[in-house]
């Protein structure tokens, strides 16, 4: 098989190169530039193939070479770039764009606290290059990660510009401690992805196994994203300017009824109320219905959603001399959201400097600042009533309701039908005034000394300083504002984090032995301050949160905490003959948040690898350019404890009018008992993997199997009530994750048409092993009003995360099952539930698992085609086996209220092939006089609302064109690239809600998987240009 593939590829190559016969020595001149920025590349090796004739490019990227008679191929190679062979049978001057190699084995890779040759790695690390991030026209790094790396689950849980994503590396390790990966930007820990301009990123390395993450000890359990930002190249300054214009649109609309259909459906529902000899009266007259048929009604989704423009500008200057390299880059993103009154702006500025002080000392400084502002009407599980949540109410408001009344005021829903308790959707969207501001400053500086040959000391100091200032005002035209006579909330918080790392590295090669020994001493300190004012009963609605003094009721709160982490790390890398590789590390973390008896945690790891491809007997096969088998084990931690959780605490906030005077009286109480034994959650992970390279690295395969067991989960352990506490935080639970990851990448076509392709797929199986003294923990993920009054998202011992429990819905009883239905006291047209325990009644004993919100596997397939000056990239990614509880449908399909077009497909004797229950007349029910055995009294924890949210998505497609270099030169520019792209262009899914990736309740991972009024995803169309001069 391999032989065959090789032959095919050789043949393809020959076809391209075949017409090459030339008679004499020719002089060929050319320019070689970087594919991405068009900058000339100096020192590129140019070799006439099958000869020893060669040269290299000068500082201007130009070369001249004599090609002897009979030769017509040049091999162009440059470190870090893909080697390219070109045909020069006709051209005597040429310009070549050299592309960066995305899978170069010889390159160095960033690992924890250092770099390592990629071939020497023993751990499991996925790498995403900055160039790949640019293939998607998103301005968010977290979103660009989706589908790119095996084992990395990215959920775009809400679609607000600047909104949230959930990133999980190899599953969920913790219940209450958080599962977010540690983000390390240029060595500074605790970074944030949102503030990063993707244009500034050189590479993202995702550290996955314990060998890679254990150097981060008590912070490493959830994986690590090591991000390296760009630096200028030696040469003259390059000015780059990128501009993208985008348009976002609602990806899909919910299918709701038109005004006439709705009116008829309401009437049909009302007419069923003919019990006890009553004669119901239709709500809508025939004339009204005729009018609706003629004139239609309001499309509420069109009212609150719009096509929203986005502008993104990026300007950068980079360059350097032998002693000093720099990059200064700025970005401005201005994005409107598809929901009216929502938008996001981000200003970002970065300065990276690196200076060689002398031949043994260097200095670096990275500073990045950003300001994000954003606003959106409340959505999803936001802290307001869903009655005034525009995303919730827009599809629920019937087309029969106009937007405004005759006086131009917001229309109030008529009584007697529909969601008459809810607020006008447009008012709910337009009237809240939300102003969120976040300023971040990240500073990181280092000094690097080469003390002796091979012995270096790097001293770094860094700080993250974030300031948040949010102001919200719900005026009296909003539901919340009406209830509270104006509701204003003002929040300020600051977060400061300082880090000092001192890294001593000794690198030594003796014969075939290569050692790298590293010692790190590190300290981190962070401090958080928060204050908030919640005010209501405003005398002047217009001033709102800008004059909190004008509110009669004000609730104040503030908080402050700090934490210290002192760490020591030792690591040794040993390679023998580049064949046998060993890495071992040991980290000690002393954390202030751990209990007094457990201040220090210890995190060892060890890994080995065998590069079989270096063995003579394998190398001689000539098949493998790389064949490496890896195995690793280690322990990492999650310092999930918040500051002071181990201490007993006197808390304010238990006020009570004890004195019997006008105001209330401050009440203090003992919040919790001390637990001086509290310690970190710890995850032991074993990984085995294999890396295979074939056809001189044109095809690379990586596969990994891992198994993780997390113990000492921080959970509340129940206490007897007589202690005065209900629980105490303790290390009690345990969770297991197992998974398989597979990634393949290659260059199927390397001729004039180049094709790079990579595919990855991964599974994660997860199981809750222990929940302390509980067998299950239920989460009632609802804001009420949806007849889901008891938990349905469960963590159950022995079962995975994301279990959805409820009653299995079997559709609707048909007329052919009249007697079976009657046994349950039901009529044809009534909903049918599974009698799980077979006792002839439907009650809480029939509850069963009706879904799981985490996928069986996820995959991504990215491709890049280039032909001449054109390139086309696209990414297809997807998820299989994940369910969503589509809670919104409960009210959308509620007879007498709901607007869902599904109600038109309701059961009737003539339409029995449906799962929408019929409208049964009360009279019919009375006459049947059946005794119902279905005693779940409207409980909506039913599988009717659980949908398969598997999907395949054309996440991104981009077509780019680079102005030919010769032409560009005429305009005195290095490079001009224009592109068009689209994001979320095609999604294939059976899910009927706005988007299969949504999740409204993300307090912890056990609650992921509920679709409730979340900001819908957009489809984006972009055009843009990249200019370099």
């Amino acid at each position: 098989m391999t032989k065959f593939i090789r032959s095919v590829i050789m043949l393809a190559g020959m076809l391209i190169f075949i017409n090459a016969v030339n008679a004499q020595d020719r002089k060929v001149t050319g320019t070689i530039v970087d594919d991405e920025d068009g900058q000339p590349l100096a020192g590129v090796s140019v070799l006439v193939k099958t000869t020893k004739i060669g040269t290299s490019t000068g500082a201007d990227g130009q070369f001249t070479i004599n090609v002897p008679q009979g030769k017509n191929q040049l091999e162009i190679s440059y470190a870090g770039y893909a080697t390219q062979t070109i045909n020069v049978d006709r051209e005597s001057t040429l310009t070549l764009r050299l592309a960066k190699d995305l899978s170069e084995l010889g390159e160095v890779q960033v690992v924890a606290y250092g770099v390592q040759k990629k071939s020497d790695l023993t751990g499991s690390i996925s790498t995403i290059k900055g160039a790949e991030l640019k293939q998607i026209a998103t301005q968010r790094v977290d979103q660009a990660l989706q589908g790119r790396a095996a084992g990395v689950l990215v959920l775009n849980t809400d679609g607000q510009p600047g909104g949230n994503t959930t990133i999980r590396v190899r599953g969920m390790n913790s219940i209450n401690g958080g599962n977010n990966a540690l983000v390390v930007i240029d060595g500074l820990q605790g970074g944030n992805l949102n503030s990063l301009n993707p244009n500034d990123i050189e590479s993202i390395n995702i550290l996955k196994d314990a060998s890679a993450t254990a150097p981060y000890g008590a912070q490493g359990a959830n994986g690590v994203l090591e991000i390296t930002t760009k630096l200028g190249r030696v040469g003259k300054p390059i000015i780059g300017y990128n501009y993208t214009f985008g348009l976002a649109q609602l990806r899909k609309k919910l299918d709701v009824m038109g005004a006439a259909d709705y009116a008829k459906t309401i009437n049909a529902s009302v007419m069923t109320r003919n019990g006890s000899g009553q004669t119901p009266v239709p709500i809508f007259s025939d004339a009204e219905i005729a009018n609706y048929e003629k004139n239609g009604g309001t499309d509420w989704q069109d009212v609150i959603y719009r096509s929203a423009p986005m502008h993104n500008h990026e300007l950068s200057v980079s360059g350097g001399t032998e002693n000093m390299r720099y990059l200064v880059s700025g970005g401005y993103l201005d994005q409107d959201g598809i929901l009216v009154n929502s938008s996001y702006q981000r200003f970002s500025l970065r300065t990276n400097i690196r200076a060689e002080i002398n031949n043994w000392a260097s200095f670096g400084l990275n500073w990045a600042g950003s300001k994000e502002t954003g606003n959106s009407p409340p959505y999803g599980s936001a802290d307001i009533s869903f009655l005034g949540n525009s995303v919730n109410v827009a599809p629920r408001w019937p087309a029969t309701e106009p937007v405004y009344d005759e006086d131009g005021n917001y229309w109030v829903h008529r009584l007697g039908y529909g969601p008459s308790d809810t607020w006008n959707p447009l008012a709910s969207a337009m009237e809240p005034k939300i102003d969120n501001n976040l300023v971040r400053n990240n500073l990181n500086a280092y000094l690097n000394f080469e003390i002796l040959q091979g012995l270096t000391l790097k001293i770094t100091g860094g700080a993250n300083i974030d300031n948040t200032n949010n102001q919200i005002y719900h005026n009296q035209k909003t539901y919340e504002g009406k209830q509270n006579t104006g509701l204003g909330i003002s929040t300020e918080n600051t977060f400061r984090r300082y880090q000092n790392s001192n890294i001593l590295t000794y690198d030594k090669e003796v014969n075939k032995h290569h050692f790298t020994i590293m010692g790190v001493a590190e300290q981190q300190y962070s401090k958080y301050k928060f204050s908030s004012i919640r005010a209501s009963v405003f005398t002047v609605d217009a001033t709102g949160a800008s004059d909190l003094g004008g509110a009669a009721i004000r609730t104040l709160s503030s908080d402050e905490n700090d934490r210290v982490l002192n760490s020591y790390l030792g690591r040794i890398n040993y390679a023998y003959d580049e064949k046998y590789l060993l890495t071992a590390s040991y980290r000690a973390d002393g954390s202030s948040v751990f209990g007094a008896n457990n201040k220090w945690g210890y995190f060892p790891s060890a890994s080995v690898a065998w590069r079989a491809s270096q063995e003579e007997f394998i190398a001689s096969l000539g098949i493998f350019s790389e064949l490496k088998v890896r195995a690793s084990w280690g322990i990492t931690g999650n310092q999930a404890i918040g500051p002071y959780q181990t201490l007993a605490r006197i808390s304010s906030g238990a006020n009570y009018p004890y004195n019997g005077t006008e105001g209330t009286d401050l009440g203090f109480f003992v919040l919790n008992a001390a637990n001086p034994d509290l310690k970190w959650e710890s995850t032991a992970q074993t990984d085995i993997g294999i890396d295979v390279g074939l056809f001189n690295g044109r095809l690379n395969v990586t596969a990994d199997y891992y198994r993780k067991k997390t113990t000492d989960l921080l959970m509340p352990r129940g206490l007897p009530g007589y202690t005065g506490f209900s629980s105490i935080i303790d290390n009690v639970g345990s969770i297991e994750n197992k998974g398989f990851e597979f990634a393949i990448s290659g260059d199927p076509m390397v001729g004039k048409v180049r094709w790079n392709s990579s595919f990855n797929i991964s599974t994660n199986k997860n199981k809750v092993l222990d929940l302390g003294d509980l067998d299950r923990i239920g989460y009632r993920t609802t804001k009420g009003g949806y007849s889901v009054n008891t938990p349905f998202m469960y963590l159950v011992k022995g079962e995975p995360f994301g279990q959805i429990y409820g009653y299995k819905y079997l559709g609707v009883w048909g007329t052919d099952k009249t007697s079976e239905a009657a046994a349950f006291g039901q009529l044809p047209g009534d909903p049918r539930y599974q009698d799980t325990n077979g006792d002839g009644a439907i009650n809480s004993q029939d509850l069963t698992v009706i879904g799981n919100s985490f996928p069986d596997f996820i995959f991504g397939w990215s491709n890049r085609f280039s032909y001449g000056d054109f390139d086309l990239t696209f990414l297809i990614q997807g998820s299989k086996g994940n369910d969503l509880f589509n809670m919104g449908r409960i009210r959308l399909e509620n007879p007498g209220e709901g607007t869902s077009a599904r109600l038109l497909d309701r059961w009737t004797p003539d339409n029995q092939d449906t799962d929408v229950p019929g409208f049964i007349e009360a009279k019919t029910r009375e006459e049947a006089a059946l005794e119902s055995k279905v005693s779940i009294s409207g409980d909506q924890r039913i599988s009717r609302w659980v949908e398969d949210a598997s999907y395949i998505r054309l996440k991104n497609i981009m077509l780019g064109y680079n102005l030919p270099v010769s032409l560009a030169k005429r305009f005195k520019i290095n490079n001009l690239r224009v592109f068009v792209s689209a994001t979320n262009l095609v999604t294939i899914t059976d899910y009927t809600g706005y988007d299969p990736e949504t999740s409204a309740y993300n307090v912890n991972d056990a609650q992921i998987g509920v679709d409730f009024s979340n900001y819908p995803q957009s489809k984006y169309y972009n055009v843009g240009l990249n200019l370099q001069f």
Binding site: W360, F449, I451, L452, I459, N502, A521, Q523, Y525, S558, D559, E560, N561, D562, V564, N566, G590, S591, S592, F594, A596, K599, P643, Y644, T646, L647, A648, R649, I650, S652, A654, N655, Y656, P657, Y658, N659, G660, T661, E662, T664, D665, L666, G667, F668, F669, V670, L671, A673, A674, G718, L719, P720, G721, Y722, T723, G724, F725, S726, I728, D773
Partner: protein, 481 residues
């Protein structure tokens, strides 16, 4: 190379000095630990507010109708069936209050207040602490029987071995605490009408003795003590009945002259949505309904009209469009504005003067072996007001001519009507037995539910968590764990 070495050592020194600058010991910033609290009078007082907070909470404790307590024969749905774990919320709230009060008492005993309080001020603080603790135990012991007796001297209850103490020990603590409170508290708080007084302590002490005289302590010697303390409250004259029955429950009379100590609410700290007490016709939620049989059994008096809602716009409840039951009018004194804002400022009396008069009547009759004139006078004050100061044949004044049993029964019936819906009836039902030894709980419960009765119903279950997490905890009879 030499200066490189210098650098080397210099930086090692920098590291070492840097590493030693941040300690791992936590010093909280936004709160203090218990050992640094309870050092000033205002901190002690904040503990009292904190202790009361959970008992009278928005949707919690006693703040949400009978939901967390138990339906007696006055509330719709009182079928005598009490499930496992019922009452655990109140158990937790009371013990949380006790935890905080014990901490305060311990600190005061240890002299932690130092010079911040004079001995007299310290006495008043101690009086309040003991008063509130006694109230908590008085509720717990009547609901649960033998219970863990956690006091200021109990070593860390989260780790110590705790067992249930006999009720006699619990009552001993309650009597001791209320007695100390009665001695240390002032008769009147001019500026703080919501705080407990010596009169309230004596009233509750009288109620404690009266309870101890009946089931399950059954020690008749306590009748005299109950009569003594109730008599002291009457003699002292600090409290009196509100003249007009319509005004007993109103914003104006929340802190006296009749109300002695209550769960308080005001605009700054509202209580549960007033909707829970109103029927659907008044846009309420109809959560707290009155048992129809109970309403029908009580005589028509101005008091019934003041306390029970049976009619709206001239239409009697059986003909209402929805919620065809009587409702509790006592707690409907919030204004429409408050109602619209979902903010109730109602208070719930814990001890009030009418209660003290009835305690006195019951105790004096029993202690004396026959109704005394004072006992008759005391109860007649209540009856006369209920009748609007005019004779009502179905609800006559009592006389000394009555037998001790008849008088006793009449007092309990008067309590039933006067103190309805005030978390009082249940305790009367479980402590009283007729001459045949039959519990009032069985006798007075509406006929439909009487077959459900067993002696096990007299106690709430010990909460599941306490049974499961402490092997030494035993369950009350009739519960399955």
């Amino acid at each position: 190379m030499k200066n490189i070495k210098t650098y080397h050592f210099l930086f090692i020194a920098v590291i070492i000095s840097a590493m030693s600058c941040k300690k791992l010991t936590e010093k909280p910033i936004s709160f203090v630990e218990p050992e640094n609290f309870y050092t000033t009078p205002s901190q002690i007082e904040a503990t009292f507010a904190g202790a009361m907070n959970r008992l009278w909470d928005y949707w919690g404790g006693y703040g949400y109708g009978m939901g967390n307590f138990v339906n007696d024969d006055q509330y719709d749905g009182g079928d005598l069936v009490i499930g496992n774990n019922h009452g655990s919320d109140l158990w937790s709230a009371h013990y949380a209050a006790i935890l905080n009060l014990n901490s305060a008492i311990r600190a005061m005993n240890a002299g932690n207040l130092g010079a911040s309080a004079t001995p007299e001020e310290l006495d008043v603080l101690m009086g309040q602490a003991k008063f509130i603790r006694a109230f908590n135990y008085f509720m717990l012991v009547r609901m649960f029987g033998d219970i863990p007796l956690i006091t200021e001297t109990t070593e860390n209850p989260t780790t110590a071995e705790i067992v249930r103490s006999p009720i006699a020990d619990v009552y001993a603590l309650i009597v001791s605490d209320f007695t100390e409170a009665a001695a240390k508290l002032p008769r009147k708080w001019d500026a703080f009408p919501g705080r407990p007084t010596s009169g309230a302590a004596k009233g509750l002490l009288a109620k404690t003795y009266l309870t101890m005289a009946t089931y399950p302590m059954n020690d008749p010697s306590n009748y005299a003590k109950a009569a003594d303390y109730a008599g002291q409250v009457i003699q002292e004259g600090d409290y009196s009945l509100v003249h007009n029955i319509e005004d007993v429950f109103s914003v104006a009379t929340k802190y006296g002259p009749e109300m002695m100590w209550s769960f308080n609410s005001n605009y700054a700290d509202i209580n549960t949505d007033p909707q829970i007490y109103r029927p659907g016709l008044l846009e309420g939620w109809g959560d707290s309904r009155v048992q129809i049989e109970w309403e029908q059994a009580i005589p028509e008096t101005p008091r019934k009209n003041a306390y029970v809602l049976t009619e709206l716009n001239g239409v009697k409840y059986p003909d209402w469009e929805s919620d065809q039951t009587p409702f509790i009018k006592k707690f409907m004194y919030d204004s429409q504005d408050d109602y619209d804002n979902y903010s109730s400022i109602m208070s719930m009396p814990i001890i009030r003067f009418a209660d003290v008069l009835l305690i006195y009547a019951e105790a004096a009759n029993k202690a004396n072996g026959a109704p005394t004139q004072d006992a008759v006078d005391a109860i007649n004050l209540v009856i006369d007001r209920a009748n609007g100061y005019a004779p009502i044949a179905e609800h006559p004044l009592l006389t000394t001519a009555m037998s001790v049993e008849d008088f006793d029964e009449a007092v309990i019936e008067e309590r039933n009507q006067e103190l309805c819906f005030e978390y009082d009836r249940w305790f009367d039902l479980i402590r009283k037995k007729d001459s045949n030894g039959e519990s009032y709980l069985k006798l007075k419960t509406i006929p439909a539910f009487q077959p459900n009765y067993s002696d096990d119903d007299l106690l709430f279950p010990i909460p599941d968590a306490d049974i499961e997490l402490n092997d030494k905890m035993t369950q009350n009879p009739g519960y399955t764990n």
